[in-house]
C-alpha cells in the first residue's frame, strides 16, 4: 500500500511540474510582425524599399528577351538557333516550353509585388495620419507611400497583362494559400479599369516630382499620371484575345482572321481609353513637377545634342530631368547598361578598360541606314558601329552573329567609355539606372492620343517638340516644320510611330507599341522585306542603296589611328560638326564613338597607340580595287569585312526575322501570337479554373 502511495505521489509530482502555457509561446526579436513594420513612416518605407528592390530584379529577364530585341528596329546579337529566347521573341516558330524560368519567375515576381502592395495599402489605410490627410485632401508621407503601393500594384498588373493577357486579379491581400483556390482569369479590361481607377483615386494625394523630396527614383504623382496614360493606350489598343474566354459585354474591332482560338482585336469603344490617356498625359505635360524635356545642351561647344544629354545624365549616375521614373541601380552592384543594353566591349570580367559588355540590344541595319535622316542628330547617339575593345580602343563591329564586337550594329545610348566615373573593377556593375519612362515618350504618347481623337493640331504641336530637338537650327524648316506640316490622317499617325522609333530605339518600348497600335503584322513584313532586299543587294552587287541614298557595302576601309597625330586632344568623340574634307572627319564621323579619356593612369593616353578608328565607306559604296580603294589602302586603311558578313549569315538578316510569323501568315491575316503561356503550375493548381489559351500546351 505504501508503495502504491509512492507511485501515486511520484506521478503527481511529475504531472505537477508542468509549465505555464506561455512557456511554449516563443518568438525571436529578429523576426518582426506587421504592427512593427508599419509603426512609422521610416519603417514603412523599408517595406517599399523591399518592393523597389524586387521591381529592380523582376522586370529584367523578359525585357531582355523580348522588349529590347523584338521590334522592327531592335534585334538580338546571336544566331537564331543559339538561344531559346529567340523562339519566343520571333512569335514561336516552334512551341515554347511553358515552364520556362523566365516566364515563371517574372509571373511570380509581379504577383509577389502586387500582393505586397495590397499588404501596404491595407496597413496604411488603418493609420489615422493617413485617413486624416485623405479627409483633408492633403498629401503627407503616408498618402505618398500609399500611392506608391498603388502604383506598384497597377504597374505589376500592367506587366502581367502586357505579357500574359488575361490573368488572375486580386485587390485584397492574400494571407493563406487557400485564398487562391477559386481564382480564375480576369478579363484584361476589368484589370485595366480597376487599376486605372485606383490610380486616379490615389494620385491627388501623391507628390509630384520634386515635391516632398521625391525624385524619379521613386514613384511620383507625375509618373502615376504617365502610367495611367500608357495603360489607357494599351487598354484601348489592339491585343491578342482568346475566343474561348468570356469578355462580358465588350465588343471588338478585329484585324485579320482567327487562329489558335485567338484574334487580334481592339475594343470598339477604344477612344474612351484614348480620352483617359489624353487627360493624364496632358496633365503630365502641363504640370510635370521638376521634370522637363531637355531641349538645350548645356555642355557648350562640340556637343550641341540635348538628346544625348539625357543619356549622359544616366552615365553620370544622375537622374535625368527628362525621366519620370528610373530604376535606381547602384555602382559596384549591378546594371544592364551598358553591359547588355549599350555599347559592347570585348574587355575581361574585371580590370579591363572597359570590362566586358555583351551587347544584347542590337539595331537592324535597314533601320540604321534606311530610316534615319542623315541629318538626324539622334542616329549616332542611338546606333554605334565601333565597340570598345576592352583595352581602351575602338573595334569595328562585325555582322557575324555573336556577342561583344560581333552581332552587328548596337545600341549606343549607354557606353562605359562615356561615363563620368567608369567602373572597371567588374563587369555588369556600372550602376547606370534603368529609365522606364521619360518625357519624350509621354509627349509622343500624347501626340498619338491627340491624333487618334482627331485633334491633329495638338498632335503636331507635341510631335514638333520631340522632333525639333533632333535637328540643328539650320534643318528646322525642312526637317521639322515642313515635314510635320504636311502630315494628316494615317500619315500623321504613322509619322508619330516613326518618331517613336527614331527617338526611343534601343529602349525596348517599340515591340509593344507595334502590338497595341495594330502595326505588328505589317511591321514584321516590312522589316523582313527591307532586310532581305539589303541582303540580296549585298549578295548581288556588293552593296545596297536605301531610299534615302545611304549605301551599305560588303567592305569598308578602316584605319587604326592616334588622335594626337590629327591634332585632336580627346579620344572620346562627340557630335560630328567637321567638314567632310577635314582630316579628322573619318575619325569623328559617325559621331559619339572613340574611347574614354580617363584611363591615363593605366597608360591609355591619347598620345600613345592607335586607339581610334578612321572609317571610310560606311554610307557610300567604294568598289574594292577601285582607284579610291587603292588610294585608301596606300594611306594605311585596311579593307574590312562589313556587309559581307551579313551575306555570310543571310538567314540571320532575312528569313530568321520574326521566324514564327512567315509571309503566308501576313497574307492570311493570322493574328500575331506574341503572348506568353501560363505555366503548368498555374494551371495545375487552379482546380481546373485556369487553362492556357492561344494554342499553348495545357
Amino acid at each position: 500500500m505504501k508503495k502504491l502511495l509512492y507511485i501515486l505521489m511520484g506521478a503527481l509530482i511529475i504531472t505537477g511540474i508542468s509549465c505555464k502555457k506561455e512557456f511554449l509561446d516563443v518568438e525571436s526579436p529578429s523576426a518582426v510582425d506587421e504592427d512593427f513594420v508599419f509603426s512609422s513612416t521610416g519603417e514603412s518605407f523599408k517595406v517599399l524599399s523591399g518592393m523597389y528592390e524586387l521591381w529592380r530584379g523582376v522586370n529584367n529577364n523578359l525585357f531582355y528577351a523580348l522588349d529590347i530585341p523584338g521590334s522592327d528596329a531592335e534585334t538580338h546579337p546571336e544566331a537564331f538557333a543559339a538561344q531559346v529566347r529567340h523562339v519566343w521573341e520571333s512569335l514561336y516558330p516552334s512551341e515554347p516550353n511553358i515552364d520556362e524560368t523566365n516566364f515563371t519567375s517574372a509571373w511570380a515576381g509581379w504577383y509577389q509585388i502586387a500582393n505586397r502592395a495590397n499588404i501596404v495599402m491595407e496597413a496604411l489605410a488603418q493609420k489615422t495620419e493617413y485617413t486624416n490627410a485623405i479627409a483633408a485632401g492633403t498629401t503627407n508621407d503616408w498618402t505618398q507611400m500609399y500611392g506608391e503601393a498603388a502604383v506598384f500594384r497597377a504597374y505589376s498588373y500592367f506587366q502581367l497583362v502586357r505579357y500574359f493577357g488575361d490573368v488572375p486579379y486580386f485587390t485584397t491581400t492574400i494571407r493563406t494559400a487557400s485564398q487562391t483556390d477559386s481564382a480564375k482569369l480576369t478579363s484584361r479590361d476589368q484589370i485595366y479599369d480597376g487599376e486605372i481607377n485606383n490610380l486616379i483615386k490615389v494620385l491627388p494625394n501623391m507628390y509630384r516630382l520634386g515635391q516632398g523630396g521625391i525624385t524619379a527614383e521613386r514613384f511620383s504623382r507625375t509618373f502615376a499620371e504617365g502610367l495611367i496614360g500608357k495603360m489607357a493606350l494599351f487598354a484601348g489598343g489592339y491585343s491578342l484575345r482568346r475566343t474561348d474566354f468570356d469578355y462580358g459585354a465588350a465588343t471588338f474591332t478585329q484585324m485579320g482572321i482567327e487562329k489558335w482560338n485567338a484574334k487580334y482585336v481592339r475594343l470598339t469603344n477604344y477612344k474612351d481609353y484614348y480620352q483617359i490617356a489624353k487627360t493624364y498625359l496632358q496633365a503630365v505635360v502641363d504640370n510635370p513637377g521638376s521634370a522637363y524635356l531637355i531641349t538645350t545642351d548645356t555642355r557648350g561647344a562640340g556637343y550641341d545634342n540635348p538628346f544625348q544629354l539625357n543619356f549622359q545624365y544616366n552615365m553620370n549616375l544622375e537622374v535625368s530631368p527628362e525621366s519620370l521614373y528610373e530604376i535606381g541601380e547602384t555602382q559596384g552592384q549591378f546594371s544592364e547598361r551598358p553591359y547588355a543594353f549599350g555599347r559592347p566591349s570585348g574587355g575581361g570580367s574585371s580590370n579591363a578598360y572597359p570590362c566586358k559588355s555583351y551587347g544584347q540590344s542590337r539595331i537592324y541595319p535597314a533601320f540604321y541606314y534606311g530610316e534615319y535622316d542623315p541629318r538626324d542628330k539622334r542616329r549616332d547617339v542611338t546606333v554605334g558601329v565601333s565597340a570598345n575593345s576592352g583595352s581602351c580602343s575602338e573595334k569595328l563591329v562585325d555582322f557575324t552573329p555573336g556577342s561583344r564586337n560581333l552581332g552587328g550594329l548596337f545600341n549606343n545610348k549607354w557606353d562605359d567609355s562615356r561615363m563620368m566615373n567608369p567602373y572597371t573593377a567588374s563587369q555588369r556593375q556600372s550602376g547606370i539606372n534603368w529609365p522606364q519612362m521619360r518625357m519624350s515618350d509621354v509627349i509622343l504618347m500624347l501626340a498619338e492620343a491627340d491624333a487618334e481623337l482627331g485633334d491633329e493640331g495638338a498632335a503636331k504641336t507635341e510631335l514638333t517638340k520631340v522632333r525639333s530637338r533632333a535637328f540643328s537650327q539650320l534643318d528646322q524648316a525642312t526637317k521639322v516644320t515642313a515635314y510635320i506640316g504636311a502630315l494628316s490622317g494615317d500619315a500623321l499617325k504613322d509619322a508619330i510611330y516613326e518618331e517613336r522609333k527614331l527617338e526611343l530605339a534601343g529602349e525596348g518600348l517599340l515591340r509593344y507599341d507595334l502590338i497595341r497600335e495594330g502595326r505588328l503584322p505589317a511591321a514584321i513584313k516590312s522589316i523582313r522585306d527591307r532586310e532581305t532586299a539589303m541582303v540580296n543587294g549585298l549578295m548581288t552587287n556588293g552593296y545596297y542603296t536605301f531610299d534615302n541614298g545611304n549605301q551599305i557595302s560588303n567592305y569598308i576601309w578602316v584605319k587604326a589611328v592616334n588622335v594626337a597625330d590629327y591634332g585632336m586632344t580627346k579620344m572620346l568623340t562627340n557630335e560630328c560638326e567637321v567638314d567632310t574634307t577635314d582630316a579628322t572627319y573619318p575619325i569623328r564621323f559617325p559621331g559619339w564613338r572613340g574611347n574614354c579619356d580617363l584611363w591615363t593612369s593605366s597608360g591609355f593616353t591619347d598620345a600613345s597607340g592607335n586607339r581610334n578608328l578612321a572609317i571610310k565607306g560606311l554610307f557610300r559604296y567604294i568598289a574594292p580595287g577601285s582607284a579610291e580603294a587603292i588610294a585608301l589602302e596606300a594611306a594605311g586603311y585596311v579593307k574590312t569585312a562589313w556587309g559581307i558578313n551579313i551575306v555570310n549569315n543571310a538567314s540571320q538578316y532575312s528569313s530568321d526575322i520574326f521566324k514564327g510569323y512567315p509571309d503566308a501568315y501576313y497574307t492570311a491575316g493570322v493574328p500575331p501570337r506574341y503572348l506568353l503561356p501560363l505555366s503548368t503550375e498555374t494551371i495545375s493548381q487552379s482546380n481546373g479554373l485556369i487553362t492556357n489559351g492561344y494554342g499553348f500546351e495545357q
Partner: protein
C-alpha cells in the same frame, strides 16, 4: 515551476523512512583468479546494487526486509551472468565465466538500460573498441558497414566532412532525416566532436518500440552514444594515438600539351576567328608561328610537358591523433578524465580539421540510496576549407584541372592580355596569378566551434523497488567563422599585377545554449518469480536559445594580411562614391521548447514472454498553439522460444527470440516560424536612391500555415534473434515497414498568391526492408581465433502520396538553372524512391550518314529526329553549314526521340537515374594469432546510379566559360570538325573527309553551348570497398608488466584500402551536397564538386599504464 520544485524536494526529504540495514560483502574474480573490478552486483528484482572495486571486492547495504529471500545477480561485460541465492550468508565470493554470446550485454535504451536478452525492440549496437579500430576523425564514419539497418555515408574526403546516418532510409523529404543523437543521455546535434577512443558503446534504436520513448524526435531512429566511465580500482592511464599518411587514390586524366592546344584552337575557331587568332598568338601557332619564330608551329608542343593542376592542388598529407585518459576510483567514487587532440591535415591546399577535447566523468555514491553523477565535455574544433561550387564548373578543386597545363616558360607567344586582348575574359584558366593553387591559397574560410556539455544527475533509491532520478543538463556553444579572400580571389589586381586592395574579410559568430531537465521514477513491481515488471515514468523539459552577429568589410588596403584585417575590421575601403563596402547584422534565434511526459512498462513472464509498452506526450513550441501536442504510443512483444520446454532438447540452439513491435514516432525537425507570417530585414538593397542603398523589410517567401502538425511515422517490425551451435553463430533478422504520414513537405503554391511555397502536411512515404546480420566464430583457440560478421540491408523507400499541387520537380542547377536542360533534373514521383534523375537518353552522336550533303550544307534526312532549338544551345562552328533552325550536324550529341514525334524536345525527358541502392552492407573478418590481431572491414552499395555532373560539366562547350580550358583526356578522341594540316587549322566539311577524320572518335563533338542532363552522365555507382585493414600486435603481458605497462599494442592500418567499382569518377560514394543549387528536396547521388577521399596509412599505439 518553482513551487512545484519545492514540493518535490520536500516530498523527497519527508516521505522516506529508513529501515534497519545489513551489510553484505564479497569478492568477484575470473576463472583464472584475476579480480574483476567494475562488476555489477545487484539484488534481484530491486534497484539496489553496487560495483566491485579494483580488487574485486564489494559491499552492499540493504534492509532486512529486502534481504529476505534475496538473490544476488552478478554481471560483468563479456562474462556470463551469475545468480546466487543469498540465504543467510552475508559474504559471497563468486567466480564468473567468460561469455560466448552477447545476451547479457547491456544495451542502452531511452531513459534506461536493458540486457540484450530482454530486448523487445530492434536495437543494433557496436562497441567502442570496434569504433576506435577505424582511424577516422569522425566516430560516426567508423560505424560504416557495421550496423544492420544503419546506412552511414560520408559527404566526401574533406577534413571535417559531414557524416550522414540514415536509420532505415528515413521517411522525410523536406525535413531532416538525421537520427536523434543522445550522448550520455543528452541530445546533441552531431557526434563529430566525440573522439572514437572515448566511446564505450553506440546503440542505435531502430523501431518505434525502442524510439517511441523519444516521441516527436524519434522518427529517424536514435543513436545513443555512451562514453567510457571510470572503474573502481587502481588508477589507470590509457594512451591511444596514431599518425597517418594520406595519399590520393586517383586523379582524372587531362589533355596533354599538344591536345590541349589543338582542342582549344579548334573550339575557339568554332566560336569566332577572333578567339582563334588570340589562341594562335598565345602559342605562336598557325599564322602566328612565323611572327614568333616558332618554326615547328603546333608540333613544337608535342614534346612539351603538361601539368594537371589537380595534382598541384591535391596531394599527400599527414594527420595525427592522440587520446589520453586517466581513470580510477573506489567502490564509492569513480572518475575518468580524458583529453584528446586530432590534427587532420587536408589533401587539398588550405584545408584542415583540428579538434581538442577534454572530458570528465564522476560518479559518487553518497549512500546506499543516493548516487550523484556528473559529466562534462568540452570540445574545440576548427575546420578550414571551401568546397562551394560554381554552376557549370564545380568547386575550385574539382575544376582545377581546367587550368592551362603548359608552364609559362613554354609559352612561345603572348600571354599578356593587354596585348592579346581576347584573352581578357579567360584569366582564370590562363594567367598564373589565378591558377587554382593560388586561388586556394588566397581564400581561407575557417570555422571555429566550441561546445561545452555538462550533465548532472541524482539517483535516489527511495525503496528497494522505487528509484527516482533527476537529471539536469546544460550545454553551450560558441561558433565563429572567419573568411578571408585575398586580392587574387577578388581580382584586386591591376594591369601590372599589383594589388589594388588586399582583400575582403568577414567574421560571424553564433552562440547558444540548451537546457534539459528530466525526472524519472522507475518502479520494480514486486511480484513472484514468474513475473517481472518494471515501470518507468518521467517528465522532461527542453529549452534553448541562440543569437548571432556578423560583419564584413571589403577592400582592405594593399599590404594588409588576413590577420590584420580581422583585427581592424573598420579599415575597409571607404568609397567616396558611396559604394557601401561594409555591413553588419545580428539575429536572435527563435527558442525551441519542448515539454514532455513519458512512460514505459516492461513485463515478462517466465523470462519467455516479454512485453513492452511505451507512451510519450510532447508539446513543442514549433507549432501553432492548437497543434502543439503529439502522442506517441508503441508496443512490443517478444518470445524467447529457446526457453520453451519443447526446445530444451534442441541443443544446437542456444538462443532464439522472436520480436514484434508496432508504434508511432514523430518528427518535429522544422523551423519554429513556419506557422505565422514573419517579416525580416533584407539588409541593404542593390536599389539605390541617389546612389544610396536602402534598408528593406520583406515577409518570408513561404506563406504561413497555422495548420502545421507533426510528421508521424508508424513503424512495424518483426525480428528474430538467434544464437546457434554452441554460441558460435549468432544473428538477427529484422523485417520492417515504416510509413510516414502527414509528411511535412515544402510545397510550392500557385505564384498568384504572391508567395512561392508553404510547408504543409501532405503526402506520405514508406520504407520497408529486411536487415540480416550474422556473426560467427569460425575458429576459437587459445592461440588462434577467426571470426566473421556480415550484415545486409535491403531497403525500399517509396513516396506513397504527394499533394496534387506538388509536381515534385526540383533542380541542382549545376549547369545554371536558367540554362541547363532540362531545368529540373530531379523529380519526386509517387511510387518511386526520393531522388530520381531526369533527363535525355543519350544515343551517341549524329554521323555523316544522317544527312544529305549539298554544297557545304548538311541537311538532316527525313526520319532522323532533330533536337529542338534551345535544348543544347548553339553548336559552335556548325551554323554556317546547316539550314537555319537545324541543330543537328555531324558529331553533335544525339538523344533518343522517346515519344517518336520526330523531334527531341522537352517531351522526351524521362527518368534516367535511379539513385537508391538495392542493397547495402558490410562484412568483417577478425583474427588473432598469439599477440597478433588482424581485421578487415568491407562495405558495399549495390544497384544505385551516380549522377556524374562533374563529367557532364566537362563535356559541353560552355561558350564564354569553356574556352581555353584544359579538358578531360577523353576529349582527345572526341568528334572533330577541324583538322590540323601542315600546321594550320582546317575546317573539314567534305563528308568523306569528315568521316575519315572521325573514324576513331569515341565521343560526340562537345561544342554545344548549353549544359544538358542526359544518361551520358549517369553511371552505375555500385561499389565494394575494403574500408580498413588493420594488423596489430600486443606485446606479451608479462613482458610489458616488467616495465610497468599494463598493455601495449602497436598497429598499422590502411583506410580506404581498395574500392572495386565501375564508376569512372573519383569515388562512387558521393553525398557532397544534398541541396546543391538550393534544391528543395534531396539531390541524392549527385557527384558535383566533391573532394576525393584519401587512402590513409596509419601507425598507431595503444598503451595502458
Amino acid at each position: 515551476m518553482k513551487k512545484n520544485l519545492l514540493f518535490w524536494l520536500m516530498l523527497m526529504l519527508t516521505s522516506v523512512t529508513w529501515a534497519q540495514n545489513q551489510v553484505i560483502k564479497g569478492h568477484v574474480s575470473s576463472e583464472s583468479g584475476v579480480p574483476l573490478s567494475g562488476a555489477s552486483v545487484k539484488l534481484q528484482g530491486t534497484n539496489i546494487g553496487t560495483q566491485t572495486d579494483s580488487s574485486g571486492g564489494f559491499t552492499l547495504e540493504a534492509s532486512v526486509a529486502n534481504l529476505k529471500d534475496a538473490v544476488l545477480v552478478f554481471n560483468y561485460t563479456g562474462y556470463v551472468e551469475q545468480t546466487q541465492v543469498l540465504g543467510t550468508a552475508r559474504t559471497v565470493n563468486i567466480t564468473l565465466h567468460p561469455s560466448e554470446n552477447n545476451l547479457n550485454d547491456i544495451v542502452v535504451i531511452g531513459y534506461g538500460t536493458v540486457k540484450r536478452k530482454d530486448l523487445t525492440g530492434s536495437v543494433a549496437s557496436v562497441s567502442g573498441k570496434d569504433i576506435a579500430a577505424v582511424p577516422v576523425a569522425n566516430a560516426a564514419q567508423a560505424l560504416q558497414g557495421k550496423l544492420p539497418g544503419v546506412s552511414v555515408t560520408s559527404q566526401d574526403g574533406r577534413p571535417g566532412a559531414d557524416i550522414s546516418i540514415r536509420v532505415r532510409g528515413g521517411g522525410s523529404i523536406s525535413q531532416s532525416n538525421e537520427p536523434l543523437y543522445i550522448v550520455d543521455g543528452f541530445p546533441v546535434s552531431s557526434i563529430s566532436d566525440i573522439p572514437g577512443d572515448q566511446i564505450q558503446s553506440v546503440d542505435v534504436l531502430k523501431d518505434a518500440a525502442s524510439t517511441a520513448i523519444y516521441g516527436s524526435r524519434g522518427a529517424n531512429g536514435v543513436v545513443i552514444v555512451t562514453t567510457k566511465s571510470g572503474q573502481a580500482g587502481k588508477v589507470k592511464i590509457d594512451y591511444d594515438g596514431y599518425i597517418q599518411f594520406n595519399q590520393p587514390v586517383k586523379y582524372l586524366g587531362t589533355l596533354g600539351a599538344y591536345d590541349y592546344i589543338a582542342y582549344n584552337w579548334a573550339y575557339a575557331s568554332a566560336i569566332s576567328s577572333a578567339y582563334a587568332k588570340a589562341w594562335e598568338s598565345l602559342w605562336a601557332i598557325g599564322d602566328s608561328a612565323a611572327v614568333y619564330g616558332n618554326t615547328q608551329g603546333i608540333d613544337h608542343y608535342k614534346s612539351v610537358a603538361a601539368t594537371n593542376f589537380s595534382k598541384a592542388t591535391y596531394g599527400n598529407s599527414f594527420s595525427h591523433n592522440h587520446n589520453l585518459s586517466i581513470s580510477g576510483g573506489t567502490a564509492n567514487t569513480k572518475y575518468i578524465l580524458s583529453g584528446s587532440y586530432l590534427d587532420n591535415d587536408g589533401m587539398k591546399v588550405n584545408s584542415w580539421y583540428k579538434r581538442a577535447n577534454a572530458s570528465f566523468k564522476l560518479n559518487q555514491k553518497v549512500s546506499n540510496r543516493l548516487n550523484l553523477s556528473f559529466n562534462s565535455r568540452f570540445t574545440s574544433d576548427q575546420t578550414a576549407g571551401n568546397e562551394s561550387t560554381t554552376s557549370g564548373k564545380g568547386s575550385i578543386l574539382s575544376s582545377a584541372y581546367q587550368f592551362r597545363p603548359i608552364a609559362t616558360e613554354d609559352v612561345l607567344g603572348t600571354l599578356n592580355d593587354q596585348i592579346n586582348t581576347q584573352l581578357g575574359l579567360y584569366d582564370q584558366v590562363l594567367q598564373d596569378a589565378y591558377n587554382p593553387y593560388n586561388l586556394m591559397k588566397d581564400y581561407l574560410p575557417v570555422s571555429y566551434s566550441r561546445t561545452l556539455f555538462s550533465n548532472a544527475s541524482i539517483t535516489w533509491n527511495v525503496t528497494k523497488d522505487l528509484t527516482a532520478r533527476s537529471e539536469l543538463g546544460y550545454n553551450l556553444y560558441w561558433n565563429k567563422a572567419k573568411t578571408w579572400s585575398g586580392a587574387i580571389y577578388n581580382n584586386y589586381i591591376d594591369a601590372n599585377g599589383d594589388e589594388t586592395y588586399a582583400g575582403n574579410a568577414a567574421i560571424s559568430t553564433s552562440e547558444g545554449w540548451g537546457l534539459r531537465w528530466v525526472n524519472t521514477l522507475s518502479y520494480q513491481v514486486p511480484m513472484n518469480d514468474k513475473h517481472n515488471m518494471n515501470i518507468v515514468v518521467g517528465q522532461e523539459v527542453n529549452n534553448s536559445g541562440s543569437e548571432g552577429t556578423s560583419m564584413y568589410g571589403y577592400k582592405y588596403p594593399a599590404g594588409f594580411t588576413a590577420d590584420r584585417a580581422f583585427a581592424q575590421m573598420d579599415q575597409y575601403y571607404h568609397d567616396p562614391n558611396g559604394t557601401v563596402n561594409y555591413g553588419f547584422s545580428s539575429s536572435t534565434g527563435t527558442p525551441n521548447r519542448l515539454t514532455s511526459y513519458f512512460g514505459r512498462v516492461n513485463y515478462s513472464y517466465l523470462e519467455r514472454y516479454l512485453i513492452t509498452g511505451t507512451f510519450r506526450a510532447d508539446q513543442s513550441s514549433r507549432f501553432a498553439p492548437t497543434h502543439r501536442s503529439g502522442y506517441f504510443p508503441a508496443a512490443a512483444v517478444a518470445w524467447r522460444m529457446d526457453k520453451e520446454s519443447f526446445m530444451q532438447n534442441i541443443h544446437w540452439v542456444n538462443n532464439l527470440k522472436l520480436r514484434l513491435s508496432y508504434g508511432a514516432v514523430g518528427n518535429d525537425g522544422i523551423s519554429a516560424n513556419l506557422w505565422k507570417t514573419q517579416w525580416s530585414s533584407d539588409g541593404l538593397t542593390k536599389y539605390s536612391i541617389d546612389e544610396q542603398q536602402l534598408s528593406a523589410y520583406s515577409p518570408a517567401s513561404t506563406i504561413a500555415n497555422p495548420n502545421l502538425k507533426w510528421e508521424t511515422t508508424i513503424t512495424k517490425n518483426l525480428g528474430l534473434d538467434f544464437t546457434l551451435f554452441n554460441n558460435r553463430l549468432s544473428g538477427t533478422i529484422d523485417v520492417y515497414k515504416n510509413k510516414t504520414k502527414n509528411l511535412l513537405l515544402l510545397t510550392s503554391i500557385s505564384a498568384i498568391s504572391g508567395f512561392t511555397s508553404t510547408y504543409d502536411n501532405v503526402g506520405s512515404t514508406s520504407n520497408k526492408g529486411i536487415e540480416v546480420s550474422f556473426s560467427g566464430d569460425l575458429v576459437r583457440n587459445k592461440e588462434f581465433s577467426l571470426s566473421a560478421a556480415i550484415n545486409v540491408n535491403i531497403n525500399k523507400s517509396r513516396v506513397d502520396a504527394l499533394a496534387p499541387n506538388v509536381n515534385g520537380l526540383y533542380t541542382t542547377a549545376w549547369g545554371s538553372g536558367n540554362v541547363m536542360q532540362p531545368t529540373y533534373d530531379y523529380i519526386l514521383e509517387v511510387g518511386k524512391p526520393v531522388g530520381q534523375v531526369r533527363g535525355f537518353t543519350y544515343a551517341g552522336w549524329y554521323t555523316v550518314d544522317d544527312f544529305t550533303y549539298d554544297n557545304g550544307i548538311y541537311t538532316l534526312k527525313s526520319g532522323v529526329p532533330d533536337i529542338a532549338t534551345g535544348i543544347i544551345g548553339d553548336v559552335h562552328g556548325t551554323d554556317a553549314n546547316k539550314p537555319s533552325g537545324q541543330v543537328a550536324y555531324p558529331g553533335v550529341i544525339k538523344f533518343k526521340d522517346v515519344n517518336g514525334d520526330g523531334v527531341v524536345d522537352g517531351n522526351d525527358v524521362g527518368i534516367i537515374g535511379h539513385m537508391t541502392p538495392k542493397h547495402t552492407g558490410g562484412f568483417s573478418l577478425n583474427s588473432t594469432y598469439k599477440g597478433f590481431d588482424l581485421a578487415l572491414n568491407f562495405n558495399w552499395s549495390y544497384g544505385n546510379d551516380v549522377y556524374n555532373a562533374n563529367y557532364l560539366a566537362g563535356t559541353y562547350g560552355a561558350k564564354e566559360d569553356g574556352l581555353y580550358r584544359n579538358r578531360y583526356s577523353s576529349l582527345a578522341s572526341a568528334y572533330k570538325i577541324y583538322d590540323i594540316q601542315n600546321g594550320q587549322l582546317t575546317f573539314v566539311t567534305d563528308p568523306s573527309a569528315l568521316q575519315a577524320l572521325n573514324a576513331d572518335a569515341t565521343m560526340f563533338l562537345p561544342y554545344h553551348e548549353t549544359p544538358v542532363v542526359s544518361s551520358f552522365g549517369i553511371e552505375d555507382g555500385s561499389y565494394l570497398r575494403l574500408n580498413t585493414v588493420t594488423l596489430g600486435y600486443s606485446l606479451p603481458e608479462n613482458l610489458v608488466k616488467q616495465i610497468g605497462i599494463g598493455r601495449l599494442r602497436v598497429y598499422a592500418s590502411v583506410y580506404n584500402a581498395l574500392t572495386i567499382t565501375g564508376y569512372s569518377g573519383l569515388d562512387p560514394e558521393v553525398n557532397t551536397n544534398t541541396s546543391q543549387g538550393g534544391a528543395q528536396y534531396p539531390t541524392v547521388g549527385l557527384d558535383f564538386g566533391s573532394y576525393p577521399r584519401a587512402r590513409s596509412y596509419t601507425f598507431g599505439l595503444n598503451v595502458e599504464f
